[in-house]
Symmetry: C2
Subunit: 381 residues, 2 copies
């Protein structure tokens, strides 16, 4: 086990009807800006529940935080928030709305352009308090301090680090009406978040391994059932809780982490606008195959415990495990090949070029350079 410091102060408020608790969670004197994405919360009743709970609070609304939230949009929210002297933020939506609102919460206390905060290496510690009402399980943003912000004019997408939400309200019923593609991408996103924190080496922490495998086993068990019936409360609660627990630090205690698949996936989103979770489903098998020399023991453990793959030679078991993983993503209804999305060599070369230009290398061993990223993508054509 590696040394670590862990603290996650977010208050998690989960269950049917819990949105009504908003009025208790936000002090009466606060000037709130509520942030939204598109209009889906107006159709599924979440908007009415939120407004009803906050009917005695001062609220300003900001609409239109897009998937892969952009600095261009967020600058407008920050300007409105400064004008309105906002001192509490409530993000209502999925990971993109929450991520975007994290930048707003830092930007409201920053005099310059908020893009400075994104490209800075430092965590933004000075922030307006932020609560969330989650409607799309996927990113874990509701219980961590991270965010990913895009800049459309330059097709860039970077991680940004800030404070945790003070509270997050998760009502599984809000997921009953989600489009199938969003659920599929959310399951893939959760799955790969866990893989990034797990798929390195064996023996560092038996407990963290079990907990990561526990999330993966849960996702494998519930995914086909959700495709049958996404109105089963306990099923959707399992999905929602798995997504939160997949990226709130709980499975990352004292273990190495990878994140190369994410870094490559972000480029696919930046260049082609693919849904984040979908890009991970495309890239992951390539990462596992190209890095099987260093990740082999862990792939075997994962194959045995999550997929019950125990027969055959070492290489056969590893191959079968990687194939099972790709089949799982396909069973969600996602494509897993670049060619299926019309993406070819030009993009692969551009991603190699970007990694080289930035001088970056990812993965637990810092060996996923531009060249290795290209190798990974070439297996995904």
């Amino acid at each position: 086990m590696y040394n670590f410091v862990f603290q996650n102060p977010t208050k998690l408020i989960m269950g049917k009807g819990m949105i009504s608790r908003l009025s208790q969670e936000i002090p009466a004197e606060k000037r709130i800006m509520i942030t939204f994405g598109g209009g889906s919360v107006k159709k599924n009743g979440v908007y009415d529940q939120v407004k009803n709970a906050l009917k005695d609070h001062y609220c300003v609304e900001f609409w239109g935080i897009e998937p892969n939230p952009s600095i261009e949009t967020l600058r407008k929210a920050i300007a409105l928030g400064k004008e309105e002297k906002i001192d509490f933020l409530l993000a209502v939506g999925g990971g993109s709305v929450i991520d975007g609102t994290k930048l707003i919460s830092a930007g409201l206390l920053y005099a310059g352009d908020a893009w400075d905060l994104v490209v800075s290496d430092k965590r933004a510690a000075n922030t307006i308090p932020l609560g969330t009402v989650l409607t799309l399980p996927a990113t874990g943003s509701e219980m961590n301090g991270g965010a990913v912000i895009s800049r459309y004019e330059t097709k860039e997408k970077y991680a940004f680090s800030s404070n945790n939400p003070v509270f997050s309200i998760l009502d599984p019923e809000t997921t009953f009406t989600l489009p199938a593609h969003q659920i599929a991408a959310g399951i893939a996103d959760t799955f790969v978040h866990v893989i990034e924190q797990y798929m390195t080496v064996t023996g560092v922490s038996r407990l963290m391994d079990r907990w990561s495998e526990g999330i993966l086993q849960t996702l494998v068990e519930i995914a086909p059932k959700i495709r049958q019936n996404q109105h089963d409360y306990n099923l959707m609660a399992d999905f929602m809780l798995s997504a939160t627990m997949g990226l709130n630090g709980f499975v990352a205690l004292g273990v190495p982490q990878d994140w190369a698949t994410h870094m490559i996936g972000h480029e696919l989103t930046a260049l082609h606008g693919l849904t984040h979770g979908h890009t991970l489903a495309i890239v992951l098998s390539g990462t596992l195959r190209v890095l099987k020399a260093s990740k082999g023991d862990k792939i075997l453990q994962y194959g045995a415990r999550v997929w019950d793959i125990t027969e055959g030679s070492r290489d056969e078991k590893i191959e079968e495990t990687i194939n099972k993983t790709e089949e799982f993503f396909r069973s969600l209804g996602l494509t897993t090949r670049l060619s299926e999305e019309g993406i070819g060599d030009e993009t692969i070369n551009e991603i190699e070029r970007r990694f080289n230009e930035r001088g970056v290398a990812f993965g637990e061993n810092g060996d996923v350079t531009g060249k290795v990223a290209k190798e990974i993508l070439l297996t995904r054509k």
Copy 2:
């Protein structure tokens, strides 16, 4: 899944050499009382590490918080703390020292006798901040708000609810020199904490089930290895982290809980002074056997996933699973029968009488009355 609200703000600082961080974690101007148990921390070097880290802080020491901390001892600590105008507490030891210090932290801000706080139904919210340096993994007290306090003059032992420690430092190396019986009792305690939060019904939360099973699987895997070599760092880190995660709320999200085994075990400690974890190893098989009508499905799931018991009739599998659990405790070096500790009918009758007198009933269905507690204990003779 049941509705729930979860928040655990404790900062967990884990790893080799982390005790030296004490000076950063406690503000320089604080007047600290450091609380200890017996003298073991002077032998294993922990005392020197703590004193060295805090050499520039004002510190008062209070020694002698005993296993099953007593109100009689804690009143003395509270009197000293008031006299010294203490505004920060540091508990250095195992669960008993931490539990006792939780009562001190509330007692320092309470004008009356601190026993009032123990017998009150309310959580003690008004407390002096408390940090811990854990030296004996078992109770999870380092990352929760609970405590158990005894009163020797009346042989009573009650749960007490307060605030979480603000930080807890866990260095696995501090466990290398623990006596074998304490390690055995610590493993049993952790095991049964998880069982209390798990062994009810199936299907409420697949994820919480997997995480509870993950701790149990880890304990089953590491226990025999620890008996071979308790100087293996990763092994002791797994034990230490499992104990913390076993009772910090992380496996209790939205699921029913039992706690009948604990309530019966507390009486065995109060009446006979047995180590807490040891009492649980004695009682648990009885709880499972007597309540197998309501817990049967979950016992089968536990048997299959933790003990790989999948052959035979339903009843055979349940019996084999309960027997395996008792064998596990015996493999730790603990006795599992009342007669082995010289405990007979008189104690069983006294426990029934106490439960009846208090009008209490425990378990997820509230059906473990005095009569049922007696049935459970009769199977453990």
